[in-house]
Amino acid sequence: AKTVKVGFVYIMSGPFAAYGQFAKKGAELAVAEINAAGGINGHQVEAYFEDSTGKPDVAIRALRKLVFQEKVDFLIGLDSSGVAKTVVPSIPQMKTPLIITHAATPDVTGSVCNRYVFRVSVNLSQNVKAAALLAAETDVKTWTTIGPDYAFGHQSWEYFEKYLKAIKPGAGFLPRDEVAFPPFKTTDFNPYINKIMQSKADGVLVSLWGGNLIDFVRQAKEMGLFDGKRQVLVTLGAATEVLTALGDKMPEGLWVGTRYWFLANDSRRNKDFVNAYKGRYGDYPSYNAHGAYGALYTYKAAAEKAGTIDKEKVIDALEGLTVELPVGAITLRPEDHQALTDVTWGKTAADPAYPIRILDPIKLFKAADVTPSVAESGCRK
């Protein structure tokens, strides 16, 4: 019988290839499970992977190839926010639905949103709103930040300031020129750490990620930034690739956030997923693996709801769809296509049962509490 073709576009090469590889693992697991269980609407799933290399023009070429050459029925992917934001306006030309699983920029379900694009993962505003809620409970007087010097870092700080001010009007923030935005290629964070330690701030929002975060944590630890005098919130600190690399060098007691935490949820769905993943790859699933995995199940749910794999009908089915994923139930908001999904934060802790730092305690924020309203998102489809 006819197969259903799904195209995945992730960063498979270059400095951030790890993200694409995680996603690929998650996707392949989902494909194997779904096919073993009879496919989608009776069609076996055939997966096509393309490399975005993290560059917008390459990503768009990859998408075009999947749609026009491979003739896929559905698209899943995109890691980088910049890539996602610039690629999204071209999706209507391809007339194929796309679920974004990693890129966090609010804009793809905001200012540049369109009928064809959905997102199942936590976006930047949801994550930072949770951080602001956490921050409001501390007795920090003045906040500063260190984040990568591109939209993600700057927006994280902007939104954090906006949300926290609304919750706790007394909170203080260092002005823009006193916070630290190291360029993305930085490997030596000492000057920035020095800048933070020199400032009067007693709370730090860290929005670095990946290799930057690893370098920062190690160097900051040596310089004594985590000596307990400051409150540190790390928005993407609970990413498994970071925790794995750092091992026991990850300080305990830091507040870290993530888009998916494999121990955050006791549901059967989650346990099955974690076990299946661990069994297949010998690893704990990262948020990116979960994203790709969940997106395919989301597609499955929509196609089954629509009773067809016709692209337009699947889109109609996706709008407002609620689906049970390992992370919990998510709902794709029909107005802007952003998933309403719970957000996990937690404190790093050592546990002999795990080779990496885990989160204890865990703090779950309900989707309704952290997701900005549709009006705020700025989406006008």
């Binding site: 090469s13 270059g14 400095p15 290839a17 790890a18 694409g20 590889q21 010097d149 823009r176 020129d177 630290a180 935005f181 190291p182 360029p183 290629k185 490997t187 030596d188 000492n190 000057p191 920035y192 020095n194 800048k195 330690m197 020199q198 990946g210 290799g211 690893i214 370098d215 190690r218 160097q219 040596e222 310089m223 004594g224 690739e241 970071v242 794995t244 690399a245 750092l246 091992g247 060098k249």
Partner: protein, 286 residues
Amino acid sequence: MESFIINLLNGLSWGMLLFLISLGLTTVFGVLGVLNFAHGSFFMLGAYLCMQVMHIVPSFWLGILIGPLSVAILGVLIERVLLRRTYGRDISFQLLLTFAILLILDDAVRIIWGPGYHVVEPPALLSGVFTLFTRTYPVYRLFLVVAGPLIGLSLWAFFQFSRWGKIIRAAAMDREMAEGIGIRVPLLFTAVFALGSWLAAMGGALAAPHQSLAPSMGERIIIESFIVVVSGGMGSFPGAFVGALILGLFESFGTVFLGSVQMAVPYILLAAVLIVRPHGFFGREV
């Protein structure tokens, strides 16, 4: 004051690391006339091989001994089999060839060690911190401040004063004539390329305890070392030293004073130097 000193140390230690790496680049350019795009990949390999050695025998010192040495051997192979076929051709060919080598090495590293991040621990001897007024500062960074100039100085002395150093400089100036006085130039070139690769790898091994290892980590370093080498003057030792120092200090103090221009600092520096001194600080007019 205290912050100033810390910034100074930061600038110095980063600068010295850059110096080591640029030294290899500038030596290879000066002697072979090849601008080696894959230099950053040797830097990366140095770090990974150091880590690999430490997985087998947990000694950092053994790591920085064996890692860079293995890269030097790889350098020998690359020079013998590939590079020597492009001598005398336009520089763009060498850029392209070494770029191809970069692609291969970067991907090979990803395939062998996986796409994820790794960290390497500094040796126990250098792992602590010392107190500076009210703050602490890692000992390892101080070690870098010392190790860079030490290696650089001994190499410089070698090139300047030893007979072999002079022979290498002679071969750099005029390859044909060097053969004409009985110097076995092909072997010499291989040795120099191996030395250059060793320096890059040494830089990588020394950087490993301080930055995370990931495929393509060399890409970040290569452009900065190009900038150091060119603004210092191609092929010049003192040039590489001054260039690295200035870039290190600018990047360090720039974080405090420059804000969002920070990212462009190396490029502004490069352009400024070249506008004022067309051949870099120590470059010779041709």
